[in-house]
């Protein structure tokens, strides 16, 4: 087997093992119903994490995801109040996400400032903008939200694939195509592998960097749209800390933070693992939220150590 698939295989094995553990502990856990719910509940974070995967493969980081999710929701809710169709406001916010990400990419590349700091300023800016728009949750009452929630594809068994999960899977397919079948995708991997070499080999640095962060911004805005439609409201604190969940999902999905190595498809399973842990703890009922944090940390630790040894023994990267 090609060694670059090892981290992804490990992720899928852990996901299946956790699912099996759930099946042993609780009746009816292993069902398409539970699976469909996990997909739908975590669709927004997985969508955002898909965009982050590109950023991380290029060796960067994007901290503005959570605030973007919150900001998109708040703007959509307020536009709903003045009578906009949710699809129109969603389209506008997707363009905004694309532009905001592109601007971040431009600043990172042109001013040579670390992505961490630039996107941190982006985090502050978007979260602050949420608070400036309004401080309370605003419901989105348009009929479209109801219709959107009603769309679903029945799965074998009792389960169904909800609309948010469908959007997530479609955007995943698009991302896989971009990553593995376009020149842009190849450039992203090249920059993450070795920025200097990539530049010397003629990779258009500025255009690719702007594209990477624009893609990240677009996907986090799409995550925000899905979250707003799923919760049918805009709340200025929505998505707080989600940038870390997204980054952790990407890492659990087998993407190396050193850049250059990773699979977009892995992010789906990385995000599902977090969703599965939360579901297991909810099924238990007697464990409190503190356990989600601790188990999340433990899993993150195990995966990072696993990756570390995979890298060490299989030379996925010669000089990590």
């Amino acid at each position: 087997m090609n060694e670059k698939y090892l981290p992804l295989t490990a992720t899928i094995v852990v996901f299946l093992a956790l699912f099996a553990i759930g099946g042993l502990l609780y009746n009816n856990f292993v069902s398409t119903l539970v699976l469909g719910d996990i997909l739908a509940d975590n669709a927004f974070i997985i969508i955002a994490a898909i965009g982050t995967t590109f950023v991380i493969i290029s060796g960067g980081i994007d901290l503005s995801i959570g605030s973007m999710i919150g900001f998109v929701g708040v703007v959509m809710a307020n536009l709903d109040v003045v009578g906009w169709h949710p699809l129109a406001s969603a389209g506008m916010m997707l363009v905004f996400g694309l532009g905001f990400g592109a601007l971040q990419g431009l600043i990172i590349d042109f001013c040579d400032i670390q992505p961490f700091i630039v996107t941190l300023a982006g985090l502050f800016l978007l979260r602050g903008s949420c608070f400036m728009v309004n401080l309370d949750a605003v419901p989105i009452r348009h009929d479209f939200v109801h219709d959107f929630a009603g769309v679903s594809i029945p799965l074998p068994g009792d389960g169904e694939l909800h609309s948010s999960a469908i959007v997530m899977l479609v955007s995943l397919v698009v991302a896989v195509v971009i990553a593995h079948f376009t020149r842009f995708g190849a450039n992203v991997y090249a920059i993450g592998g070795d920025k200097t070499s990539a530049g010397l080999m003629g990779v258009p640095m500025r255009r690719t960097m702007i594209g990477i962060y624009a893609l990240g911004g677009f996907y986090s805005a799409l995550g925000g749209v899905i979250y707003a439609l799923y919760t049918s409201s805009g709340y200025p604190l929505a998505g707080t800390g989600n940038e870390l969940t997204a980054i952790a999902s990407v890492v659990l999905g087998g993407t190396l933070l050193t850049g250059g190595v990773g699979m977009v498809a892995g992010t789906l399973f990385g995000g599902m693992i977090f969703g599965l842990i939360a579901t297991l703890i909810n099924f238990n009922g007697s464990l409190n939220g503190a356990w989600i944090m601790i188990i999340g940390g433990v899993l993150l630790f195990l995966f990072i150590v696993l990756q570390r040894f995979l890298v060490g023994s299989f030379r996925l990267r010669s000089a990590a």
């Binding site: 600043i107 700091i117 941190l120 602050g128 944090m293």
Partner: protein, 350 residues
């Protein structure tokens, strides 16, 4: 550095080069930012700089800026050391949360309060050892290694609270609250504690070879190793220093509310601390530790927050204004952007 050198030695010093040299100096922009913020404050409320004595302690907006900047500045000092080794520590907020939980737990267990201080420092030491182990021994990238403790730390704090019942237990302690909110001879005690921490750290870095070792490891770990520096040990020590300063800030923050509230204590303080280091001119690519400049960075952040509150703007504007100021300071520090701005200015003059 080279530019200012040339500017002073050649006789034909043009105004442009001098200006460029000044603009490129690292102290200028953060200091200018702080001065500008204070100037705007003074214009908004003329008694911004008035300091009076109330109940045996100094009161005034400027004192308040210093007072509130202490926890962030203290965390930022340790962060500066870690960033100097080309690392980063995202777990400082969690260390504060665990520290606060352990302090409350031990006070409820009836330990002498002076011993509690050592418990808190012990937590910082342990967390620092954990982070240092991941980064220095297992060779995991710092941002993800410290993410582990960041994700799970607040959960650990909540679990400690549950050990003896209660979600947010509170305590009273004359010693701890004295350190946090008390005053000695008109001066807030936490400022004195901060000066002590700063001095100890400064002596450790600049009066021993440790500071040089840390910077050389941050500049080029491999080269440092080849010159005979034990790079792993040095990186290890950086995370321990950061854990200890975070735990010290934890004592002050926890005693401020005399409650163990792991979910919200020191929230986002890692971001403010990293910003303080960056505003102070420390590069995330390592190799330089500026302790004094880091304090300046923390003061810029706090002055901004305080002036938004005193100016009567709604506190919601805080984050947006902070984002803009951070971006402006960073853009001015970028030579590419400065050259672009100067060339646009020059074109306009023609």
């Amino acid at each position: 550095m080279t530019q200012s050198h040339i500017a002073t030695t050649t006789k034909q010093v043009s105004l442009g080069t001098t200006l460029r040299a000044i603009a490129a100096h690292r102290v200028v922009w953060p200091l200018a930012a702080l001065a500008l913020i204070f100037l705007i404050d003074f214009l908004i409320s003329p008694n911004f700089f008035s300091i009076r004595v109330v109940e045996g302690r100094l009161f005034g907006s400027v004192i308040d800026v210093f007072y509130r900047a202490v926890p962030t500045a203290m965390v930022a000092l340790g962060m500066a050391v870690v960033i100097g080794t080309k690392g980063i520590d995202l777990s400082v907020g969690s260390i504060i949360a665990i520290g606060g939980a352990v302090i409350t737990w031990r006070i409820h267990a009836g330990d002498p309060h002076i011993l509690i201080l050592f418990w808190a420092l012990g937590v910082g030491l342990l967390c620092g050892v954990w982070n240092g182990f991941l980064v220095a021994v297992l060779d995991i990238q710092p941002i993800i290694a410290t993410l582990i403790l960041m994700v799970s730390g607040r959960g650990i704090g909540l679990m400690i609270n549950l050990l003896y019942g209660g979600t947010n237990p509170s305590y009273t302690s004359a010693l701890l609250q004295g350190i946090s909110t008390g005053h000695i001879a008109f001066i807030p005690t936490r400022l004195l504690v901060f000066l002590l921490v700063f001095f100890v750290l400064w002596a450790l870095l600049r009066r021993t070879a440790l500071g040089m070792f840390l910077e050389s490891v941050g500049g080029n770990a491999k080269a440092a190793y080849l010159t005979g520096i034990n790079a792993r040990l040095i990186i290890f020590s950086a995370y321990i220093i950061c854990g200890l300063t975070a735990a010290s800030a934890g004592v002050i923050l926890s005693a401020d509310t005399h409650t163990s509230d792991p979910v919200s204590i020191g929230l986002n303080i890692e971001l403010d601390a990293i910003l303080a280091v960056v505003i102070g001119g420390g590069s995330l690519s390592g190799g330089r530790i500026y302790l004094g400049m880091t304090i300046l960075g923390a003061l810029v952040i706090q002055a901004l927050t305080t002036s938004i509150l005193t100016s009567g703007l709604p506190p919601e504007y805080n984050l947006v204004v902070k984002a803009f100021v951070v971006m402006v300071v960073l853009l001015l520090q970028s030579s590419n952007f400065r050259n672009l701005a100067l060339s646009i200015l020059a074109r306009r003059k023609r």
